[in-house]
């Protein structure tokens, strides 16, 4: 079966800090791992500053995928804003954090506070 996805983040080099991003099984929405489960809000994503935390988060993602909550969880390298909010380094991941650039009225950008 052909893969219909480019899985994982395309960032090269330093992969921290990072957040964990996935698609919600039922809704299809992009979701982020937070301190209290999965959130739709990109500003509420839990940030891994070290490799150990990232590994724990990744394991949590795999468990959630196995439990059929989310699909294709992966770590997304981010830069932090002055307010400490995580902005994806790669433009593809950033598109998922915000929503379509051609529709500011749709996706995360329409529902949540901006990241930057």
């Amino acid at each position: 079966m052909a893969k219909d996805h480019r899985a994982g983040s395309k960032v090269r080099g330093d992969r921290l800090p990072a957040i964990l991003m996935a698609s919600h099984l039922l809704e299809g929405d992009t979701v982020f791992l937070s301190d209290g489960g999965w959130t739709l809000d990109p500003t509420a994503a839990k940030i891994a500053h070290d490799a150990e935390t990232a590994a724990v988060m990744e394991a949590e993602g795999k468990a959630a995928a196995a439990a059929n909550t989310v699909i294709e969880p992966y770590l997304v390298p981010v830069d932090l804003t002055d307010d400490g909010l995580p902005v994806a380094r790669h433009f593809r991941d950033a598109m998922r954090q915000k929503g379509p650039s051609i529709h500011p009225d749709m996706g995360k950008q329409a529902e949540f506070a901006p990241l930057d």
């Binding site: 219909d4 960032v11 299809g28 059929n68 598109m95």
Partner: protein
């Protein structure tokens, strides 16, 4: 239009029930994502960047008003109020929820629609000429052939797990508007010297990462032998096409690696072994299907319409619209009308639910309740009385559907690109919007004339960039979006692949680069030559020179700015 018989109806309803069960099992955990994915793809359901995406089949691009009203209802109830017409003449919804998809499929089945053959390694939805049954240069309406292939290929037990997807296009006309030379199989209805109708069969064309122009495999195939011959081609492909490497699995690679002569010989050998009469459709079935596509009950009218002529004389907007978007109809007093979904600044191919309803009313009242989707992401009203054109134009204008730019530089094909697509490497739609804004001036568009620009946001080429007179391919380079530009591509009977002009450029430079290319054309053109005719005559060299000069001037400017 084709109407379902009891077998079609039962088949589609069964598939809806089947998928409902599959979704239930996915949600209760009895199917894993790996198990579920091929099942959802068999029903047109993808997972994209922000949400699921549902691709709905529009067989050979033909729809009626009840179907469009149902699509409007689905768009408003289960999506965000719009749909997107694609280069496969299909329609996509960008925001459905998994839990709602079985209900959506049920609503589609209510109007004889489905999502079968829109994904997966099967024979995909067959595409055709948007002016089928209308064009003056047509030997025969291609839609009965397309419908026959749809029935033969849906759930064909041998061909549901091919090495890779398989796309068939059919045209009945001299001028190819269905891009048959860049399909896995392209069929052209023609007459032989004895006057009998049959098919020219082209195999092994395609776009994607390895673009190829199809090869002529059969000069003339008698019409009643179609299915058996297709079966022979499919058998050769199914048994010899590569399954070890996804990137080499399309039939174009098999034809290329086997060699044209040898491939033809293998097909003929396979064909000789088949028992044709057990495979080919019986005459009465072919006739039954063809009867659905009989011409509508046209009025007998004079060729010219005084009503229209007078209205055009006093309404320059109507005049321009008719001049640019009307297509000669074989029935006197009628025309076919292209409805551009390319208003300046709009998303190519997008249509709101309100527009769908308004357009459904127009099609119902003025075009025998029928319309078409084009592979250029536009719509066509196939049978409009010239006398009715002023009223049709007014209704379209009120719905924001009267852009007089069909075929012009602002009528751009663009795949969804990185704004939606999980496969994309770069954005596509914003590039189209920026180019359209740059060339928004009507007089400028008119001066430039016919110029199909086609944009893909990745190497898979859903935006057909290889066959754009100007093609644009968005890639990722060094963590940024980067755009390669080609000229000379052509999807018609003169099929050709575009030639790259130079290094890739940044998104913000694309509109000015297109301006530079257009300047080269205007300087090089002789007489009434269109852009593609000029490129065909001069080759890509002058365009490369103009492009290189542009890239160098940009480099100088950006250095000065630093």
């Amino acid at each position: 239009m084709y109407r379902y018989d009891e077998f079609d109806e039962r088949f589609v309803r069964e598939r809806v029930a089947q998928f409902r069960g599959q979704v239930e099992r996915r949600l209760d955990g009895s199917l894993s994502e790996d198990e579920f994915k091929p099942l959802r793809l068999k029903n047109g359901l993808y997972l994209q960047l922000h949400a699921y995406m549902l691709r709905i089949a529009v067989p050979y691009g033909t729809l009626n008003s009840a179907q469009l009203r149902q699509l409007a209802h689905i768009a408003e109830t289960y999506d965000k109020g719009y749909g997107h017409f694609t280069t496969r003449q299909n329609l996509q919804f960008n925001w459905p929820k998994l839990k709602d998809v079985p209900d959506i499929l049920g609503l589609l089945a209510d109007v004889e629609m489905h999502c079968i053959q829109t994904s997966g390694n099967c024979i995909r939805n067959v595409t055709s000429d948007q002016f089928a049954g209308v064009a003056r240069d047509e030997v025969e309406d291609p839609r009965p052939t397309a419908e026959l292939i749809r029935q033969w290929s849906s759930l064909h037990p041998e061909f549901v797990w091919l090495p890779r997807k398989f796309k068939i296009a059919v045209t009945g006309a001299e001028h190819d508007r269905a891009a048959i030379k860049v399909h896995d199989i392209g069929l052209k209805l023609k007459r032989n010297e004895q006057g009998a109708v049959g098919y020219e069969v082209i195999v092994g064309g395609g776009l994607g990462r390895t673009p190829m122009i199809g090869k002529l495999v059969r000069e003339f195939l008698p019409k009643d032998e179609l299915l058996a011959y297709l079966e022979a081609v499919m058998r050769v492909y199914n048994s010899e096409g590569r399954r070890d490497n996804k990137f080499k699995a399309r039939v174009k690679i098999l034809v290329h690696e086997t060699g044209e002569e040898e491939f033809r010989a293998r097909v003929e050998e396979e064909y000789a072994k088949l028992d044709g009469p057990t495979i080919n459709a019986p005459d009465e079935e072919v006739e039954r299907i063809a009867a659905y596509f009989a011409p509508p009950a046209y009025d007998t009218l004079p060729e010219a319409s005084q009503v229209l002529d007078q209205a055009r004389a006093i309404d320059p907007e109507l005049d321009r619209f008719v001049e640019q978007n009307a297509f000669e109809h074989k029935q006197p007093g009628y025309i076919a009308l292209t409805i551009s979904l390319k208003e300046i600044g709009a998303v190519p191919g997008d249509m709101s639910a309100d527009q769908m309803r308004a357009f459904a009313d127009v099609a119902e009242r003025y075009s025998f309740d029928e319309f078409r989707v084009t592979h250029a992401q536009n719509l066509v009203l196939p049978h409009v009385k010239k006398d009715d054109l002023p009223a049709v134009h007014a209704a379209l204008k009120a719905a924001g559907l009267a852009s007089a730019n069909a075929g012009l530089i602002t009528d751009i094909i663009a795949c969804p690109g990185l704004d939606y697509c999980a496969l994309a490497t770069a954005k596509s739609i914003p590039i189209a919007q920026a180019i359209a804004k740059t060339f928004a001036d009507r007089e400028r568009q008119k001066t430039i004339g016919e110029l199909p620009i086609k944009i893909s946001g990745c190497i898979n080429a859903c935006g057909h960039h290889h066959v754009g007179a100007i093609g644009i391919l968005g890639l990722e380079k060094g963590g940024r979006e980067n755009y390669q530009i080609t000229v000379g591509g052509d999807a018609t009977e003169h099929a050709a692949l575009g030639e790259r002009l130079g290094p890739g450029i940044d998104a913000e430079d694309v509109p000015a680069a297109i301006e530079a290319i257009v300047e080269t054309y205007l300087a090089e053109k002789t007489g009434e030559e269109s852009f593609i005719e000029t490129v065909r005559r001069t080759g890509a060299e002058p365009f490369k020179a103009g492009f290189t000069a542009f890239v160098e001037s940009r480099a100088v400017n950006s250095e000065a700015a630093e």
